[in-house]
Subunit: 452 residues, 2 copies
């Protein structure tokens, strides 16, 4: 938030140094910037200066720039750099970023990009791409420092020095045995406070919290936020240490998962942001809308079935949108409470039963309050006590049903390992429309002789 | 994810050691656990063992336990510990956690708890509580290592050793001048790679990214996730270094803010989780529902106004819920896209205009698709071409209006610095009900002679 005012100035200085061909001046400016800011400058730079900007950057700076860019911009940079320099930059990049970059590309493009990379790097990336999307294996990187349990503190500190440039965070060193098995962890604090001749296996912490390569990224996020870790080790069968996941990637995961929940809850379709083209956005939103339109027709056929009732008491129609709407609203509320709650904790059968009973009570309390209110309003407005009773009792029943539907539908999805957020507000609303019309016209039909 | 299977066993061992009165054995078990796990054990422990569990823990362990517990459990622990031991534990706690604990307590309770604390600590906490809720000042802690710019690398490393126990993360040391002003930052990597006699001011990074005590926590989260920092320094006027915010607290903020967005979008009321009592949950949900109920009555009076039209063509009622529902659905989608997008980036006027035009196009494309579909369905179902045209053209217009309402309403709120998420799916749905009924019956009235 602090640097805003000087940003135009900065851009001006950068362009000047590029125009003057003064690489030294340019690098002095870039050196003082964070990678994110370098990327911002690059993105806002007039297109004609971009080639020189890239030419002037060091390989390490290019790698950092790449990691801040969107996939489209990354590919543009790679193209501008040419195959030789691209390959060097890709070699330097974190494996997890590389995996993300390659994930959606065509096989030929991947092969072209990777053909010139160091074998070790490209093998690792290809291996990572075999893990399922959103798994720990996709998210991990190999920029961590491991030490043998037979090291002394002095040896560990020496190794740390050698790898300081490489490692992302230095808070933990992971300890492995002869078979590359993860057997412990030593924090940098432990090294600082230990004696130089202490053996690592004597000071290491053996109860390491770790995740499997197949663990879902949401579960990794839960662990990291629970334990306040800066990084967490990732293992494959037999405790073999494969990589680490760092908190910065987890922060991105948490933001992404929250966005996905909101996407699903609002049935707004995948990955629409401010830059999405209208046709693409419409295409992504339409499937849900068409489904909801067809379900909405069921409501129509219910009213069709009760058209005699409606014809003899048109006033019934006045309260239709309100009753249907309220049932949808209470259902949406319950849905949000369940989806939100499931992010924070898992549920067992006992808790599920308790939750359903809680929501039943909530439905009854809400239903009674709203039913009494609407009965009085209906009576005053339309001057018919019977109409008041029909509307009020319908609202009571539909609010209870709506609340339970909003609770039980996501729980059933959860039980079958489907993300409960796909139930979505609009879906719950549309289903509740159907329930509410059935109840409303059902009750009204019973009183029809007194209503008309 | 790894430790589940042994958890019952662990609990058994802990209870055994408590029963046997073997504190040494108990502490050996606890030493191997993460604070989160200690808290889990405490929470699942039968009530009769809890006093002894607390008695056996060291002060440092009690402090860590406290930081993992809910506010209710924290107060229970403090009560069990008694005033003297409580005070010692509170002295050890991080200021930000302490501020959270005290935030909602009665003034007398705060005074009682703080009366025995070290003056320095209680002054800091009282100072922090003066900052607004959700500001950086509330979130910061003072467990960081600062060094003078005149230090050598050796002096910095020595200071780091002295404070290793205290500091939360050691990745950065903040450099201050004589007036306590923040002038630079040195990473631990820099120290490792520097020469012992180097001056800090020569190796430090001067373009420090920092936040003000009054910065909103959401903006702090944006910065931390943007720059991949582990911590960020907090300053007050004149660049005076007041504290740091660490990434673990930011992870909690991001989760909390996402939950708040979902709460608001679903109008589900503040802070309802699986443990909230039915009466409390109903009370928190009712204000929105009652408001929506009253708005829903406006729909009723619109239908009332068109009751002659409806009476002469009851088939119009069949499509009412579908049209109202679809308008609400597309509005909810647009709302979610806007709210989600605003979390990621701020908008200027040019971008707002562009976004509104994008959504206008989306509305037209969606509207045309759904309108053609429903015209055909209505014609086939009811055998009336006119009805098909009325329903189709109404849906086209209401979908465009609904999409724009779902876009413009949150943007207007955002413009006036109101959180756009308060617009909420249910509110947009209810408002769109009104628009859609006006359009539908308006168009139907024009064709009424041909419909009945």
């Amino acid at each position: 938030m602090q640097m805003r005012s000087s940003e135009n100035e900065l851009m001006h200085e950068i362009i000047q140094s590029l125009k003057d061909g003064k690489r030294r001046v340019f690098l002095d400016i870039i050196d003082e910037l964070q990678p994110y800011d370098v990327a911002q400058q690059y993105q806002h730079l007039p297109a004609k200066h971009r080639n020189k900007f890239l030419l002037y950057l060091t390989l390490a700076q290019l790698k950092e720039l790449m990691e801040e860019l969107s996939k489209e911009d990354q590919l543009e940079v790679l193209q501008k750099l040419g195959i030789e320099k691209s390959t060097k930059v890709l070699d330097l990049m974190e494996n997890d970023d590389l995996t993300t970059l390659l994930a959606d590309l065509e096989p030929e493009q991947i092969e072209e990009l990777m053909s010139e990379m160091k074998k070790e790097e490209s093998d690792m990336v290809q291996h990572m791409m075999k893990y399922p999307a959103e798994s720990a294996g996709r998210l991990m990187n190999n920029r961590f420092v491991w030490i043998s349990k037979h090291y002394t503190v002095r040896e560990a500190v020496d190794k740390l020095k050698d790898f300081a440039e490489l490692a992302e965070y230095l808070n933990y060193l992971y300890v492995i045995d002869e078979g590359k098995k993860l057997v412990g962890v030593v924090s940098y604090k432990d090294l600082l406070l230990g004696e130089m001749q202490d053996k690592i296996e004597d000071i290491m912490f053996t109860r390491v919290v770790k995740v499997d390569v197949l663990t879902d990224q949401e579960d990794v996020a839960k662990l990291i936020s629970r334990y306040d870790f800066v990084s967490i080790p990732v293992i494959e069968d037999n405790d073999k240490l494969m990589g680490v996941i760092t908190v910065d990637d987890i922060l991105d995961v948490v933001i992404q998962e929250a966005n996905e929940d909101i996407e699903k809850l609002s049935a707004s379709g995948k990955a629409i942001d401010f830059k999405t083209k209208p046709l693409v956005a419409a295409y992504r939103r339409l499937p849900w809308l068409i489904l909801l339109l067809l379900i909405g027709l069921v409501s129509g056929s219910i009213i069709d079935g009760f058209s005699e009732t409606l014809q003899s008491a048109v006033a019934l129609a006045f309260f239709m949108p309100m009753i249907a709407g309220m049932t949808g609203n209470t259902g949406t509320q319950s849905l949000a409470v369940v989806v939100r709650g499931l992010v924070a904790q898992d549920l067992d059968v006992k808790q599920v039963v308790k939750l359903i009973f809680r929501e039943l009570w909530v439905g009854i309390i809400i239903g009674l309050t709203c039913a009494i209110l609407i009965s009085i309003i209906a009576f005053i407005w339309q001057g018919s006590l019977i109409l008041g009773i029909v509307v009020g009792s319908s609202l009571l029943i539909t609010l209870i049903i709506g609340t339970l539907a909003g609770t039980i539908i996501p729980l059933v999805l959860y039980k079958f390992n489907i993300d409960p957020a796909v139930a979505s507000g609009p879906l719950i609303t549309t289903i509740n429309d159907i329930f509410s019309l059935l109840v409303y016209f059902g009750i009204a039909s019973m009183f029809i002789s007194k209503l008309s």
